[in-house]
Structures are given as structure tokens and as C-alpha cells.
Symmetry: C2
Subunit: 363 residues, 2 copies
Amino acid sequence: MKDCCTLAVDAMGGDAGVGVTVPGARMALERHPDLRVLLYGDSATLKPLLAEFPRALRQRVEVRHADVAIRMDEKPSQALRKGRRVSSMWLAIEAVREGKAQAAVSAGNTGALMAMSLFVLKPMTGIKRPAIAGLWPTMRGQSIVLDLGATIGADAEQLVDYAIMGEAMARSLLHVEQPSVGLLNVGVEEIKGVEEVRRAGRILREAALPIHYHGFVEGDDIAKGTVDVFVTEGFTGNIALKTAEGTARQIADFLRRELTASWWTKLGALLARGALRNLKKKLDPRESNGGIFLGLNGIVVKSHGGTDALGFANALTHAREVALYDLVENIARDLSAKKMMADFLDTRQENGAQQAAPARNAG
Amino acid sequence: MKDCCTLAVDAMGGDAGVGVTVPGARMALERHPDLRVLLYGDSATLKPLLAEFPRALRQRVEVRHADVAIRMDEKPSQALRKGRRVSSMWLAIEAVREGKAQAAVSAGNTGALMAMSLFVLKPMTGIKRPAIAGLWPTMRGQSIVLDLGATIGADAEQLVDYAIMGEAMARSLLHVEQPSVGLLNVGVEEIKGVEEVRRAGRILREAALPIHYHGFVEGDDIAKGTVDVFVTEGFTGNIALKTAEGTARQIADFLRRELTASWWTKLGALLARGALRNLKKKLDPRESNGGIFLGLNGIVVKSHGGTDALGFANALTHAREVALYDLVENIARDLSAKKMMADFLDTRQENGAQQAAPARNAG
């Protein structure tokens, strides 16, 4: 494990802006003594806030002034026009391209962040569209789910690319040697899912990629943690993620209402408060905050716009881990291995066909 | 509210077959004194089981012999070849077509049940593909979500039909005068969802249908119960449903583990056991068991294959309620109103265009 790392932080992004990003960055700096942060934003706003940091932390933060802050409701095209080369979001991403930082983190608007990331970092060779991958707490620990909404729709080749990228991310973040990969599908008998999912399944099964392909999985397999990596296209992935978040909040809400219904239940809740606190921590969306953009020549991490300082600090922690494990280099290696494997199989099949023909004739 | 009703039950369907369907039917008969049940299946198996029913209940059940039981793993095409006119599943559906029963209920395999239902009952006039609609417990009570997996993919017109059918079901089952309807979409800024969802949104907003169209909703709106009816295509709907079910089980599992971790938490759980029981009931998938096939000339209800007697009884209760409120007739009326409205708007637009042209010329 190498020494890590500098993160470029869009200090103006998110619903609360510097009110969350600055204390969040501070928490991350306290957690990780090897971490350095470049804070992009309005320096007149940021400098007084940094003045309150302890000296030891302050030495690991630099403010980089940016004239423009991208609003949460701006369209990607607007954001690009207005924020190109001058916004805190753009400059944070550019720091990654220039090698000044190993990853960029923003709680700003997803569309603008993705558009700028594509523009500045460019897709990796062989990748058509990027994906957003997230950590998902399961009964077995954590899994990775992608795409959470970067791209609507995906053809079979894109789904295979997601499988490769998600697998590399699982090796890096989950520390699994041979992560298992599943394709999300429906279990209804007459319809084994959309054609693209079936085709992606055939490729993953037959193409002899160095991936442990488990097969099709269903929605309830995510919570079970049946595989380490769940692959689906962005529309379904986004709705699955938000449905699960909604369900978790709903159950927490039911539980709270029930436990405050009488003195007996209140006393019970008091005695069991350690257990309830642990449950709350397990359900806390801040724990898995930080969607990772995969498929670009550099790492960009998207924090929830409405998170607090703890959630934002967690996004920085995830960015740090991904940077630490050379995710982009790992994915690039896997993609080129896939390309080589495909070429090799093509050649072998052709040779095989040529050899088989005379053999049959001879016999 | 009229007197209700006879349900045709596929007694051989489901993972446990008669071991669940017969006691489930018994529970439903005990609940609803107005209910009659036709039990389709192997009479040599069924008759001895019915002999154990109290006399008063036995008078409201009739066994109808069927030679063939459809297996859970059979493909729809196999099931049709093997089970046409002779299987318990087919005969139960046929009882609805013939008016002997107001709804059919089966815990058998979904693909076979949908194929036979389509074959026997036929789609309603104007409906291209049927949908499966389910009740979903929310923070506000219950909502309806469709399609849960009858059809993969849906064009804008199909989504509008789902909206109409779901709205009628909400009026019937949720007893809401003017149910609100939302289209599931992703909230990511750069991509306001698939083209078909956007087109369906435009039609629902502009076509002046007698529907309270709320707009786009996201995955977490389901748990919030933001609208009464959530419309999406079957792939996404199926994965959202199973993801939510998985999440609920995961949280229940976390809670159980945490509450049994120490003597303090165990004592707390004992004191709060009423609250925990209520929560368990709220999370119990048996409570909302029974997916309703919409868009056919008759009601078919699909119970979970792995449910128990209580779950199966609940599917019968839902079938009874839907039959009670003339769901099919309500949907037919709404669809023809939609057709009339569309024709009227077309005519008016044409007239309007003709009138506008001379007016401009005159001016």
C-alpha cells in the first residue's frame, strides 16, 4: 500500500456548500494523517474557515480560488458554459487530469459533475459510457452496485464493461481476491429479461474473461450480498438504489413510532439502546456515501448533495481508498486483458475451424 | 357494496401445493362469510383434506377435479401444451371466463399463469400487454405499483394504460376518490429518464385524461407514498419490488441479531415486544401478498409461490376485494373514456386548426 494522497475537493458543491464541505474535509484530514486536500472555491469565504483549523491540519490543506460555483439546479450544458475553466467543480476535476490530485470529490449536481468529468478526463480507451458505482451494505458485508444512474440504458458490451470495472473496484475496495459478478435480471419465468442482459450473460459466461461470473441475480439478492458486484443499467440501478434507501427510512420510521408508543416500549428501547444505535449506524446512508464514476481517465467521487460533514468525510475516505489502490490502472489492465482475450479467442476459433475441416475430410 | 363472491383456486400451485392452498382457502372462508371457493386439483388428494373442514365451511367449497398440475419450473409453452383444458391452473382461469367465479387465484408459476390467463381471458380492448399490480406498504398507508414484471419494456402508450388501470385499482382497493399517479423516473439531472417515460409524462399531462397525474417520482417516493399509483415498466418494477423486499428482510435480520447480542438488549426487546411485533407485522410480505393481473377480461391473482397459508389467504382476500368493486368494468369504462377523450381532442384540434387559419387570414 503506497502513501496516499491528495484529494481535490469542490468546496462550493452540495446543498449546504462550505458549511458541509469544509468541516467534512477537516474530519477526513483528522482521520487520515497521510491525506492532503486542495479546496477549490471562493477563497474569501474559505480562508477564514480554514483559519479555525488546528495548525497541523491547516498545513495539509490548500485553498485554490475559483470564481464560479455551479448551482444544484443547473443543467449540464449551462454548467459547462458558465463553469468551464473557472468553476470550483471544473478546477477540482482538472487537478486530477494534471496529476495534482489523485481523485476529485464533489457534492455538487450530478449531471454537471458527470458532464465536466467526461469533458476533462475523457472516457478510458474502449469505454463508451461511464458508470456510477456505489457501495451497498448487505447481510454479508458490502457489495458494489453499478450503474446507479450515469447512463440510461446499456447494450450487452456496456454491461460487460461495467462487470469488468465493478470487479476491479471490488478487488480494490472490498479486498476480495476473486470477486463474484452477477447481472441483475427478473425471475419471472416467461421472460428471462431484456435481450441485452441475456447477451451480456452469454458473453460473460463464454468469453473466458478472467472474471468470476455468477450468473443472473434478482433484486433481493442485493440485500443478501449474493455476489460482490451487481451489474445493471443506470435507470434500473438508480431506481433500485433509491427504493432501498426509501425502504430503510420507512422501516426506521416505523420502528421509532412503535418504540415511542408506550412507557413499556420506551423503557425497552432505553435498555436496548446499544442495539438500536448499531442498527441506526448500519442503516446510515452516510456510511456508504460517495458514488464513484468509473470508466474515465481519473477518479471522481460524487457525494450526496444533501449529506452532512460526516457523510462528506466518508466520501473523501472512499476517494482516498480508491486512489490508494490505483483503480484506474487496474481497470485499464483488465480492459486490455479483455481485448487481448477476445482477439486470442477469435484467432483460436479461426485456426480451430481450419484444422477441424481437413481432419473431418481425412476421416 | 354487492354480495361477494366465488373464487376459483388453483389448489395444486405453489411450492407446497395443497399443504398451503387448502389451509389458506380455509382461513379465507373463515374470514369472509360471503365467500365461496372452487378448488381445482386432484380430487383424490383434496377430498380427504376438505373432510376435516367444519361442516359450515365445507358447504362453501367445491372440489373440481383436474388431471394435471403445472410444475413451478415449467416454461409457459410447456405448461400450455401440457395443461390446456386439463390443468388446475387452466380450469381455475376458465371458471372466470365462464362466469362461474369472479376471480382466479394461483400460487403457481408466474409465466405459465400469465400465458394461460392471456390465452383464456384475452387482453381487454385497447390493451396491448397486461401488467402485474401489487399493493406496497408505505409511510402513508398503501400504494399500488405496476408493472411488477408481466412485461419487459413498455412504450409510452402502454405506460399510460398502466396509469389508467392502476388508477382504477386504487379507487377500488385503496378507496381513494381521486388517486394520484406518478411515473417512476431517475432524478439525475442530465438524463431525465428514457424517452418513453418522458413521452408518457407528456401524454398524461396534456391529454386531459380524468386522472390526477402528479408527475415524475423517484425510487424513494415509493416508501414515502408520494402518490397512490406508481407506474413503471416491468423490468424496473420487478427489480424495485425485490430490492425493497430484500432490504426489509436485511433490516429485520440486523435488528434481530442486535437485539439478541446481550442480556440488556434481550430484556429491552422483551419490554418492547409489542412494538417489535407491530413492526414485524408491518414488514410481513404476507400482508400484501397477491399480484393482480391487470388488462385482461377477468381477474387473476398471483400469490407468491413460497408463501404460507396466511399469505395465501391474504391473496384470496385481495382477490375478493377486487372482485367486489368490479375492477374490470371500472377499467373498461376508463379506457373507453380515454379513447373518447382522445378522439374528442383530435376532432377539436382539427376544427380549431381549421377555424384558426381563416381567422388569421381575416385579421
